[in-house]
């Protein structure tokens, strides 16, 4: 019984972690290409949430498609209007710009769509239908979340590894100036990165809103914070590292949430960030770097033992 409960918590945590892996990947993509920590990324989730609200009567598929198109469009527009003019400025200017865009969008939302009564998107009843698989309760939404997150992570991996634009993105992430020197068009790659970021934000937004239902002008702030911190512990300089960090933090938060007594549940993030501090003390360069170092030490040790045995 206890094993089944643990497994149930594990499945929920993995599903939650996968969402943050997707979100951290979006942040890392922009950080890599532009050295931009885009705090306005959370507002893309808010834009998506309200798009879902205003298109909820069109049916599930049109609502999802319109939300994706709108969020991708706003993301690309954000780059064109706010970030392109300051692209060559100091990192701190980019950071301040991203705060300005974030607060600006929140204020616009407060004055328009978030004004008046609390808005929300009612979850579709079929999403809460539950299946009992090997003693686990899995709702359609859990399955959808896992499938979408896995699909996006696999899709992103294929895109980055197999396509020309993906290779250009990886090269730009590593050394943007050198990428330009080998003929990669900076504007094209950056616009593409923002479009991909928009797509990832739209997917996260749809899954979040279908799960929680409630909307607010600041609804993107907490997911952004978790994805940002997760990305940082994984290593924002590496796409894999960021996804790993986002996933780990998502899993940790969900596990803490389900293990804490009810009167301590309000302190979930405090415990999660304590975990982050411990990770950063042990592995200041990120989890991926730590994994590599542990792997390298283990293989060296294995080789030494093998040689001794021989």
């Amino acid at each position: 019984m206890i094993g089944a409960i643990d497994l149930q918590v594990g499945v929920d945590a993995v599903s939650f972690g996968a969402l943050f892996a997707v979100m951290a990947l979006g942040l890392a993509l922009l950080f890599g290409v532009m050295r931009l920590m885009n705090f306005a990324y959370g507002e893309l989730i808010m834009v998506g949430g309200y798009t879902m609200y205003y298109t909820r009567d069109f049916g599930a598929l049109p609502m999802i498609l319109i939300t994706i198109v709108v969020v991708v469009f706003v993301s690309v527009l954000m780059e064109l209007i706010a970030f392109r003019p300051v692209r060559h400025a100091a990192p701190v200017t980019l950071l301040i710009t991203s705060f300005a865009v974030s607060f600006g969008l929140q204020q616009v939302a407060f004055m328009t769509v978030a004004k008046g009564r609390q808005k929300g998107v009612e979850p579709y009843p079929w999403l809460t239908d539950q299946h009992h698989i090997a003693g686990l309760r899995l709702s359609n939404l859990d399955i959808l979340t896992l499938l979408v997150a896995a699909g996006l992570l696999i899709g992103m991996t294929l895109l980055l590894k197999r396509t020309t634009i993906g290779i250009q993105l990886r090269a730009s992430t590593e050394d943007y100036q050198m990428a330009q020197l080998v003929g990669i068009r900076g504007n094209r790659v950056i616009s593409f990165a923002f479009a991909i970021t928009g797509l990832l934000a739209a997917a996260v937004c749809i899954l979040f809103v279908l799960r929680t239902g409630s909307l607010s002008a600041t609804m993107g702030v907490t997911p952004l914070l978790i994805a940002f911190v997760g990305g940082a512990i994984g290593g924002l300089g590496s796409l894999t590292g960021a996804a790993l960090g986002g996933f780990t933090l998502g899993v940790v938060i969900n596990s803490i949430q389900s293990s804490l007594p009810v009167d301590l549940s309000g302190y979930t993030l405090m415990f999660a960030f304590l975990f982050v501090i411990v990770v950063l003390v042990i592995a200041p360069s990120g989890l991926l770097d730590l994994t590599r170092r542990v792997w390298s030490a283990a293989t060296t040790r294995f080789e030494v033992l093998n040689r001794r045995a021989a």
Binding site: I167, Q168, A171, E174, D175, M178, Q180, L181, V182, G183
Partner: protein, 241 residues
């Protein structure tokens, strides 16, 4: 082919290059040597468009390229092998080489060039699917040259390609450059290894601090200059082996 007129490059108040005028003709192998801080790298970075000049102009095949973007300049036929190689360590060797050809539209010709490069650099062909970061310094230098060549440049710029390499690899790099020159490629080589550069190049500019030309000429002309020897010996002690 390339004309630099009265070029001044400044970083804030510090002038790295002052009033520089130089030229490279088609098919020529031109060297630029000088001490650290003589502005050699700044000249190349300004040619390829990553550094804006404070004054002066650069023209290439009769077109002003002074304020063009780096990717435009590459598409016009100028490719740089940068200082420190700057290969993409997380990309495979194959991806590193192929990425150099992304700006070209003639896919079939790119495929042929890739094949030729694999023959020219067998060490890269052997490690085609390994990540660039796993290569030794000399192999990375060959990778950086291969990446530049796959863009089919009419003018190849190289910034200190032998820096930090073992003597055998230095020989290999100069061997490659001489092969490329023999094939008719135009080369502008910036180096601290003055002796080897002057020997290999058709003409060499010798820079002094502040980015001004102190001497220029062929290997023979430079050796005949009475005051060149003093300056050159100083330079040879620094960088030339």
């Amino acid at each position: 082919m390339l004309r630099i007129e009265d070029l001044t490059v400044a970083y804030g108040r510090v002038r790295a290059v002052t009033g520089l005028t130089m030229h490279v003709e088609e098919g020529e192998f031109v060297g630029v040597v000088g001490h650290n801080g003589a502005g050699k790298t700044s000249i190349l970075m300004t040619i390829v468009g990553t550094q804006r000049p404070a004054e002066g102009s650069i023209s290439y095949e009769e077109q002003d390229i002074t304020r063009r973007s780096p990717d435009d300049i590459l598409r016009m036929g100028i490719s740089l092998v940068p200082e420190g190689r700057r290969i993409f360590a997380r990309l495979t060797v194959g991806e590193n080489v192929r990425i150099g050809g992304h700006a070209r539209r003639d896919r079939a010709a790119v495929a042929k060039d890739l094949e030729r490069l694999r023959e020219r650099f067998p060490v890269l062909a052997e490690k085609w699917d390994r990540s660039g970061g796993e290569l030794s310094g000399g192999e990375q230098q060959q990778l950086a040259i291969a990446r530049a060549l796959v863009s089919a440049p009419k003018l190849l710029l190289l910034d200190e390609p032998t820096l930090g390499l073992a003597p055998l690899m230095v020989d290999r790099v100069f061997e490659i450059l001489e092969e490329l020159h023999a094939e008719g490629r135009t080369i502008l080589l910036v180096e601290q290894n003055a002796k080897r550069t002057i020997e290999a190049a058709d003409r060499t500019y010798v820079m002094r601090s502040g980015g001004q030309i102190q001497f220029q000429g062929t290997s023979r002309e430079l050796s005949e200059m009475s005051d060149f020897e003093t300056a050159y010996i100083g330079m040879a002690g620094d960088g030339a082996r």
